[in-house]
Symmetry: C3
Subunit: 283 residues, 3 copies
């Protein structure tokens, strides 16, 4: 595998910004690769929530330029879980990231798939020779992942970082629930954003497959009435809408208030969209 150096480090964790964890990792990347640009995607993934991290990463990667994705949501740190670095099969075509670094727990595969899949995979060694480690390292982000990402930015061949393994053995998360049937669409809540919008696993084709029109019911614990709209502004105050969001997903929204609060849903809940029952009143 030839080295494809350069670009930025795209950085995502569940570390938050209150402690200095993310800051120290930024400094370690820059110490090993002076002058590289570090782009924080987010450090606000809920603690230990690998699924939420994997979804955020998959949403983000189509918009990234060339570089290395460094992602750490790692409840298994300090156990026997594999630390890994991956090269991307179609990196030259996409103009996007050429490598990924992170734990082998399902965090990375969806995002890599979105860019064309894995080319090669290596397992990173436990104790890094290029670490600045002190005793008692439970901080693999600082001591293993950040130096590996920096080396890939500098053009090190992937094979220099660890032992090859079969990408087919990577841990993968269960696919989100999305079942269209005649007149109903059952779909997992993927994401509740800062504004309270509720992203579903469904895309517009799923609504078509379920033969849904522009008037909808939303079933959670209770039934909500909704409308297919093009933008938030088309909704009356308090009205529930279904839009196509910026990732091409269906999303439940209200205008300037939180649809998640109105619906009392959170990521992982399953939502069913269906045509209104005959005789039910318009919203």
């Amino acid at each position: 595998v030839a080295a494809r150096a350069g670009g930025s480090v795209f950085f995502l964790t569940d570390y938050g910004l209150t402690d200095e964890f993310a800051g120290v990792m930024r400094a370690v990347v820059l110490r090993h690769a002076p002058g590289v640009s570090i782009i924080d995607l987010t450090h606000g993934v809920p603690p230990f929530d690998v699924r939420a991290g994997a979804l955020a990463l998959a949403r983000a990667v189509p918009h990234l330029g060339p570089g290395v994705v460094l992602a750490v949501v790692d409840p298994g740190v300090g156990t026997q879980r594999r630390a890994m670095a991956l090269s991307v099969a179609r990196a030259r075509d996409s103009g996007g990231p050429h490598h990924f670094v992170g734990p082998d727990n399902g965090l990375l595969p969806w995002a890599v798939d979105a860019l064309g899949g894995v080319e090669d995979a290596v397992a990173l060694p436990w104790s890094s020779t290029f670490s600045t480690a002190v005793t008692g390292a439970t901080f693999d982000g600082r001591d293993v992942f950040a130096p590996a990402a920096a080396r890939l930015c500098l053009g090190a061949p992937l094979a220099d970082l660890g032992e090859d393994f079969d990408p087919g053995t990577m841990v993968r998360l269960a696919a989100p629930v999305c079942s269209p049937s005649a007149g109903a669409l059952e779909a997992e809540v993927l994401w509740v954003d800062r504004f309270g919008n509720v992203q579903l696993a469904a895309v517009p084709d799923d609504a078509t497959a379920a033969r849904l029109g522009s008037e909808l019911e939303v079933l959670t614990a209770v039934v909500h009435r909704a409308q297919r709209v093009r933008s938030f502004g088309a909704l009356a105050p308090g009205a529930l809408g279904v839009v196509v969001d910026a990732n091409g997903h269906l999303a439940l929204v209200c205008d300037r208030q939180s649809a998640a609060t109105v619906l009392r849903v959170q990521p992982g809940d399953v939502v069913t969209l269906r045509a209104p029952a005959p005789g039910s009143s318009s919203p």
Copy 2:
């Protein structure tokens, strides 16, 4: 209009840092303008609070170097509100930002005024040819504003980005309340900062116009006694003070505790400062 390229992108939104919104916009700027410096001013503007964003931007811009201000607090996203890019009239003199990019909803004008006013204004087109858009774009920050800011950093002439319009037609917010009269000064709360300091719309000349001395009362729901002081340290524990803050505004403060909590005020409340009533006791 000649291109004035270079400098940094100064970035302010109400997106927060928990979702990847701001991170993806950073990546999009860097993809279109590799090597540019991106300075996060803040992403902590309260959701949809255009007024709070406009005030934060106006406080920040006198301290910025050359570059492009990219500001997005945009409750009207997806509606017919105008997306715009502006050039600054006296950019060469100020050494500060030369362009602004954001929605036409009142967010930008106060900050541009602080730098000398608008030179030229263009409306950005709805769907950007330089976008990496997928279907269903409700994310103008990523697909419209970030690429426009990147192009201006690279030296594109403003006229290349969209159709000219008359800057006199820009949406402007109502001016903050600030009414000095003999012995009293009524002033809107502009900002409660992390430390609980309460910034008012008044400046020291307003206190002079109201003939206020160094002993003051502060009227909200109840009357508070305050002192004009030069620094927090001059206040006794629990005492309320009036200082000139780092933006040249009057601010109500306590030493190492939150004046906003003591006063039970928030931005938008109106506060009156007046000389103590005769016979009232000293603090």
Copy 3:
């Protein structure tokens, strides 16, 4: 003192990220030193908590490359406390930061000591000639500290920034409590991180000095049973463990839940570790 220019600005404050304080300081650094890399260590130090800031800085500095540490946790801003810049005695050997800038209130010395101690110290003047100050400056971070850090990055000699003073007169914080005795180890809680792990002032040698084995009791208000383990994964659900953390400290942890919540402790509390009482049952 010869100038040792270059490197990054490593930036730590208690300003949070909701207001634009940290963003404006970043812009001021870049305005004075175009092209410099600014690494945010954290801005999440609790407001006014100099001790928490000093501890975060001391944990971070061993991992930083060359540059200037800019740290502001400054409850005494606007009073007569000294503003200072320091050079590091063994900067050439460490490959780490060569200068520190911040208030003289105990925030910096532990971190500087971790790099070999102070070489020279100067007091920064009250009003900076290179400031963009408006009237009423209570924002020394923007007007004094950020420009000073930028000048040091550009290679200005330390002596150009202010008057020399004896580093022995710097304010120093009280050392954390850590008292091993036969069978017990009393240690201050230094840090509760995002994941709820409770870092103690003790290191493994202190546990050895206290003749502690692998079964422990943890005394706060009540007695908790704990185990010495190598990683979180070795703990049963709900079990309390003692690990060596990534800074070489003993830390109280649970697997995927907050040890701080279980123990009801916060920084500054004192925790005693001791061997289990004879006859007490295993966990």
